[in-house]
């Protein structure tokens, strides 16, 4: 489990993804979901490190040893949310039941039209936040993503909905261009989607207590928000099985600048609060934890 998560190659490959997409869009979601069982088994047997990471995480979350069926269920949930991205992108929230909590908190934060950071994590499905396009169509969302990390999936999702490509700010290129693009999008009042739980190789991190033990969290999302003086709203979309998602918004910070002299102390406070809220939402349904690597062991 030594390899950095970014060094794990994408599972499945282009053909498998294309097949699932075609079956999904032509035969519907139930037929495609039936395929998730063999896919889950394949993943379970072929991806040892991910299987072990799942088992270790579930044992930690449930405070008991994880069984084989728990791990299978975990992988199945993960595969299910990836499949659902196909539908969410192709048809929006149609056919799903998506509960939304905390919309007022989000609306209060963005009332001045100066943009905000939507801070999420690799839990559940950030794609479920697309429900926003239906309830608040005037909001613009831009997502910072590394297109190079999952090239086959990115290609597929962009082909499904070309508008998504314009939504993405690529984190894979040089960092300066990405942060300037974030500045420009925020200046136009967009919501900037950032994920606060994984650092890319070489990115600065700081430790915070998470599920009882220190884990490293990237500092960049918090520093970007502070530099641009953007309010931060936590945003998580949990998959609850079947066709049900629950989207949560929660006000996190007001968008105050962080003076450099106070940086370490303020960052420690922000990261600890983020880690605590992430733990809270992850505990609502631990099968939504999609960091299949040794999260605590860096």
């Amino acid at each position: 489990m030594k390899a950095h998560w970014s060094e794990r190659r994408e599972g499945g490959g282009r053909f498998a993804l294309w097949l699932i997409r075609s079956i999904g869009l032509h035969l519907g979601r139930p037929a495609a979901r039936a395929l998730l069982y063999p896919i889950t088994l394949y993943f379970y047997f072929r991806r040892g490190p991910e299987r072990r990471a799942s088992r270790a995480f579930l044992a930690r979350a449930f405070a008991r040893p994880a069984r084989e069926r728990d791990v299978l269920r975990h992988i199945h949930r993960y595969a299910g949310t990836i499949l659902d991205r196909v539908f969410l992108l192709a048809r929006g929230a149609h056919g799903f039941v998506i509960g939304v909590q905390g919309l007022e908190e989000l609306e209060t934060r963005i009332a001045h039209g100066r943009g905000a950071v939507l801070l999420g994590a690799h839990i559940g499905s950030f794609e479920a936040l697309r429900v926003l396009a239906e309830i608040r169509p005037e909001l613009r969302v831009r997502m910072l993503m590394d297109r190079g990390q999952t090239p086959a999936l990115t290609e597929l999702l962009h082909a499904l909905n070309p508008a998504v490509a314009d939504m993405v700010i690529d984190a894979g290129g040089d960092g300066t261009t990405a942060v300037l693009a974030i500045r420009d999008a925020a200046a136009q009042g967009a919501l900037i989607g950032l994920l606060g739980d994984r650092a890319r190789p070489g990115e600065p991190t700081q430790a915070a207590r998470f599920f009882g033990e220190p884990a490293q969290f990237p500092v960049a999302p918090h520093l970007i928000a502070a530099a641009l003086e953007l309010p931060v709203v936590l945003a998580f979309g949990l998959y609850r099985g079947g066709n049900r998602y629950d989207v949560y918004f929660e006000s996190f910070s007001t968008g105050a600048a962080i003076p450099r002299a106070d940086r370490q102390a303020r960052l420690a406070e922000l990261l600890q609060r983020y880690a605590a809220r992430l733990e809270y939402y992850t505990r609502l349904d631990p099968y939504n934890w999609f960091n299949f690597y040794a999260f605590w062991n860096v």
């Binding site: 300066t176 942060v179 300037l180």
Partner: protein
């Protein structure tokens, strides 16, 4: 190593002040040394803060879609040359 021009010196002081590089003497920043990763060890967050400070001071924005960004931010000399070029075009109303 060549000496800083007056424009480079002014920019070096802005870098030191806006990024709070207390232990760095602005006059000692080598114009051709790398700003990021190397000597000063700046990162992309610093680049963002620097870009904000530059637009505040000089009244123009460093563009996110400029394919030359990597080169522009590579050294004090390159950044200063870009700032001076933008300032002159902004002042003459060419943009």
């Amino acid at each position: 190593m060549s000496a800083q021009t007056p424009a480079e010196h002014e920019l070096a002081e802005l870098i030191v002040a806006s990024l709070n590089l207390e232990s760095t003497n602005a006059a000692a920043i080598a114009p051709e040394a790398p700003l990021f990763g190397g000597g000063l060890g700046l990162d992309s967050i610093d680049a963002l803060e620097l870009a904000l400070a530059i637009s505040k001071r000089y009244g123009f924005s460093l563009r996110s879609d400029n394919p030359d960004n990597k080169r522009i931010f590579s050294s004090l000399r390159e950044l200063s040359a870009h700032v001076e070029k933008q300032r002159s075009t902004t002042c003459s109303g060419a943009r």
